[in-house]
Symmetry: C2
Subunit: 191 residues, 2 copies
């Protein structure tokens, strides 16, 4: 999929790897983060396959080594268009080391569970501000990119609400019935 993120960005303008990473993080980087170790091998492969081409090496006028500017080829545009109009094969994938812990909190210390929830709340409140700021920038720009930004804000809001609800439920359970903590899992998995 990184392949198509790169091909898509090169529709806007010619870019070098470093810039591509910045754009990926700023545009659909709400829930995405990418690495140089993913960018450069992909650029190499795409060039080998003739989907992109290195057009020029720019001497960096600020600092650092020269930039390798890539542009998309006709073949690349065709490949991208075919992908864009195809029905997505796979569905949404959400992976979160916090949520992975959450389902198992019943095996751990409820105090620590609450601490970790508070960490998450703080983290996503911070992120919320950043996302709202970015949204203002996108208000002017193309519809799809703006809508994507709005999804990021909605997701963040929903998650914060859920975290707060979880927090108060666990707190209630802990103080209310210390002898029968419903959070203590034994064989409570659905079959």
């Amino acid at each position: 999929m990184i392949k198509y993120a790169i091909l898509g960005l090169l529709h806007y303008k010619n870019m070098h790897g470093y810039r591509i990473k910045k754009h990926i993080e700023q545009n659909f980087g709400h829930m995405w983060s990418i690495n140089y170790g993913q960018i450069y091998p992909n650029l190499k492969k795409l060039e080998q396959d003739g989907l992109i081409r290195m057009t020029q090496i720019l001497q960096n006028d600020e600092k650092g080594p020269p930039r390798k500017l890539y542009s998309i080829t006709e073949k690349g545009k065709k490949d991208f268009a075919a992908w864009l109009h195809a029905s997505p094969e796979k569905s949404m994938l959400l992976r979160d080391p916090f949520l992975m812990r959450f389902v198992f909190f019943g095996f751990g210390d409820p105090e620590r569970a609450l601490e970790l929830i508070d960490e998450q709340i703080a983290l996503y409140e911070q992120q919320m501000e950043r996302r709202r700021r970015n949204l203002k920038k996108w208000k002017k720009s193309g519809g799809y990119v703006r809508l994507m930004g709005e999804l990021g804000v909605s997701l963040n809001e929903m998650f914060l609400q859920w975290l707060n609800r979880a927090r108060s439920e666990i707190l209630k359970d802990k103080t209310g019935e210390t002898s029968h903590p419903s959070g203590t899992q034994k064989r409570s998995i659905a079959r």
Copy 2:
């Protein structure tokens, strides 16, 4: 992270690979889907590291080849507990081939974009039913697992709302100003 999903599940009871996959999908499989190609190599590695142990080979009373039952060791429990109480290193990752297309819909055919959105709406309405059904089962079970199920439902609801909003906005844009489609991206990426 799959490592800890396996170690976590083995806290409930001894299991074989096939059963572990089913449980992963049914418990936190809202946004997760796992493959045998991820299960068996992990079981192998965990056994080598002494975190789990193959306790018995059960002759399958239904059909198919014998099952290899694994149990968690003391070392495994210690490793799991340390992970459970640690602050998560990385943050939420959302990867979705539909959303990846969505940000680039401006480079494609708006008609097709609407079709793909409708596909997603149909898909998530189906999923919504399944999730609500599962939620009823979890009402009885442990707090954390149930809360996790509720997150799945909230996420699904929010996403469906967003899809419908996106749908009507794109439709409005298309019929309203055919000469100035705001969906047509040129250089509308945030810097």
